[in-house]
């Protein structure tokens, strides 16, 4: 379980991680190359073999994961099935399942649409995100600002509907092919907000003003979204720094730094991805405080 979960860094665990990553990358390149008709015609058998063996590989991985995660929690903490259920219904568990399972469905129901199966095969690339901690950082940062994102999305929806409706009232009679109904002009509003000035030239003065305002709103929306992300990241960074600093202070408070403490600090630094320079600055700051 420890090898697959990768929590304590063993050498074997790292090899397994590398192996899975390489198989996933090979698989995804195969899916992409397979979509070129000439390549598909020439190497059809090879792709088929590759697909079969990688499905076997991923199935083995999945079964091992489900089996081994049974010991994640001790018996008194909920027993074997708590860890298993936690994995099976986690995003990674679902990805592992749906990236592999369609192959078997194809075996049992040969009439199924092949295109859907191919798309599901591409899900395998998401398996890589398990090994990318920066991506997880991104999700936590966005998650901590989800209210701000929610309000930005709300504003976007309101802006789209209002500008689309106003445009419909202003130009619906003049250009019924573009603004004949509100759903139709919602498409125009989205294009204008996301890409700038839209695909349709307004012909009335009122329409012109609405179009310019909508375009300007698009610029503002982009600024708001970017601003929220930037602020989420910078807040997350300062939180991490504060957490590391308090840990550091605790270690330095008794004047002695044991090996175990040094090891835990190093691990924390790696987890928070702080640079050595940042850590050194914190130590200096602490020393200066001590001296004064």
């Amino acid at each position: 379980m420890e090898v697959l979960d990768g929590s304590p860094k063993h050498a074997i665990s790292r090899y397994v991680e590398w192996l899975i990553t390489i198989v996933v990358l090979v698989n995804c390149s195969a899916v992409i190359l397979d979509s070129i008709p000439e390549v598909h015609a020439d190497y059809k058998d090879f792709f088929h073999e590759l697909e079969f063996w990688s499905v076997m590989f991923f199935t083995l991985e999945y079964v091992l994961r489900v089996w081994s995660l049974g010991v994640k929690f001790a018996a008194n903490e909920g027993g074997a099935w708590k860890g298993r259920k936690g994995y099976i219904f986690s995003p990674f568990g679902l990805i592992d399942f749906f990236a592999t399972m369609p192959f078997y469905m194809h075996v049992f129901f040969p009439t199924l649409d092949l295109r859907i199966l191919r798309v599901l095969r591409l899900l395998r690339i998401l398996k890589l995100s398990k090994y990318n901690t920066a991506l997880q950082d991104l999700f936590t940062a966005v998650n901590s600002e989800r209210r701000a994102f929610g309000s930005a999305a709300f504003l976007l929806v309101i802006a789209t509907i209002v500008s689309a409706s106003l445009m419909h009232f202003a130009e619906g009679h003049e250009q019924p092919q573009h603004f004949g109904s509100i759903p139709h002009s919602i498409y125009w509003a989205i294009v204008t907000i996301t890409a700038g000035y839209g695909n349709v030239e307004p012909v009335t003065k009122a329409g012109e003003i609405i179009a310019l305002l909508t375009g300007f709103l698009g610029v503002c929306m982009a600024a708001i979204m970017t601003g929220i992300v930037a602020s989420a990241f910078s807040n997350q960074m300062s939180r991490k720094k504060a957490a590391y600093q308090s840990q550091l202070r605790q270690v330095l408070s008794d004047g002695v730094v044991t090996d175990a403490e040094r090891e835990s600090l190093r691990r924390l630094q790696q987890q928070f991805r702080l640079s050595d320079a940042q850590v050194q600055a914190m130590i200096d700051e602490h020393n200066a405080e001590q001296a004064s």
Binding site: A148, G150, S151, A152, I182, P183, Y197, L212, I224, Q250
Partner: protein, 314 residues
């Protein structure tokens, strides 16, 4: 509402105050939550109806239904409006004369009060003056979507953040205004002779400027060298402006989050000061966390920091 004030109001006043509490929703209980959800869903249904009604085929097929639905919503919103005006008289508890109208006036002239009024009342106009332009009425109906923003507390956060940085925002807007005047006059002077059909006047040149700012290219190719330089400068300005706006928003949000974290930290410190965390204090911290929309992780980090800071002193 506590017992003492309840006694002083009398039965009608008590109902009035209760209606106020339910509609205002500052203190959430079951009833006010149900009322909130009901009004919010009705508003959403209304907006969907307005959108669908604009499709000609649907309009012809379900005209009767749309009409009945609209009448029903107008009745509900009218009742809501009347109840709000009536009950907001008890917003301030006290006996001085004029206090009842203070609460009412505040509501009537608040943004929400005006939205409530203008999204409902024009329909009575139609009853009296059947000849009124329908398109204008439909535009007023669209105002109902803004009723939703009352229930989105995150929107208040956003406006608060923007308001605290209003100096930076207004300087960015000022920059935009100045450059709009300057660049459009310049392009009119330089290219007005060569392309009189696209730059016939300064307002037309302003239109070109705004287009360039929002979409990067204003549909016009310059024909003189000065014109080319001006267009390039305008495009660079557009990028700079987007960067400035983004930076200001980012700063505003960061400042807001930090302000809240330090407020929360102060509260935690106060709670931990006497060494005992009572049920009441725990509840208070929970409410504050919910109000600030902080994640459990953030709260934990703050609590841990306060605790480690306390240790050396002990």
């Amino acid at each position: 509402m506590n017992e003492a004030t309840a006694q002083s109001l009398g039965p009608l006043g008590r109902i009035q105050r209760r209606v106020f509490e339910v509609l205002d929703g500052a203190v959430m209980d079951r009833t006010s939550k149900i009322v909130e959800i009901f009004i919010a869903s009705l508003v959403v249904a209304n907006v969907v109806a307005i959108i669908l009604e604009s499709v000609q085929s649907l309009h012809d097929q379900y005209e009767q239904f749309f009409h009945v639905f609209d009448t029903f919503s107008v009745i509900v919103f009218s009742i809501e409006y009347v109840l709000r005006v009536w009950s907001y008289g008890r917003k301030y508890l006290g006996t001085e004369p004029g206090l009842a109208w203070k609460g009412r006036k505040e509501y009537l002239f608040s943004m929400f009060g005006l939205v409530d009024f203008f999204s409902t009342v024009p329909f009575y106009l139609q009853l009296f003056m059947p000849g009124a332009d329908l398109r204008v009425l439909r535009m007023f109906r669209l105002l109902r979507i803004f009723k939703l923003s009352r229930y989105n507390s995150a929107m208040d956060d956003m406006f608060e953040a923007i308001k605290s940085e209003r100096d930076s925002f207004s300087s960015a807007l000022f920059l935009l205004l100045i450059s709009c005047l300057l660049f459009s006059s310049l392009i009119y002077i330089i290219e007005g002779h060569d392309q009189p059909e696209v730059f016939p006047s300064i307002p037309a040149a302003m239109h070109w400027f705004v287009l360039t700012i929002i979409s990067g290219w204003g549909n016009v190719d310059p024909v003189t060298y000065f014109g080319v330089a001006l267009v390039v400068a305008t495009q660079i300005l557009a990028i700079a402006l987007a960067a400035i706006l983004t930076g200001v928003v980012a700063t505003a949000y960061t400042a807001q989050v930090q302000r809240r974290e330090s407020l929360y930290e102060m509260e935690v410190r106060e709670v931990l000061a006497d060494g005992v965390v009572s049920e009441e204090e725990k509840q208070k911290l929970k409410t504050l966390q919910a109000k600030f929309g902080m994640s459990d992780e953030q709260v934990e980090a703050i609590a841990r920091q306060v605790e480690t800071e306390k240790k050396p002193r002990d």
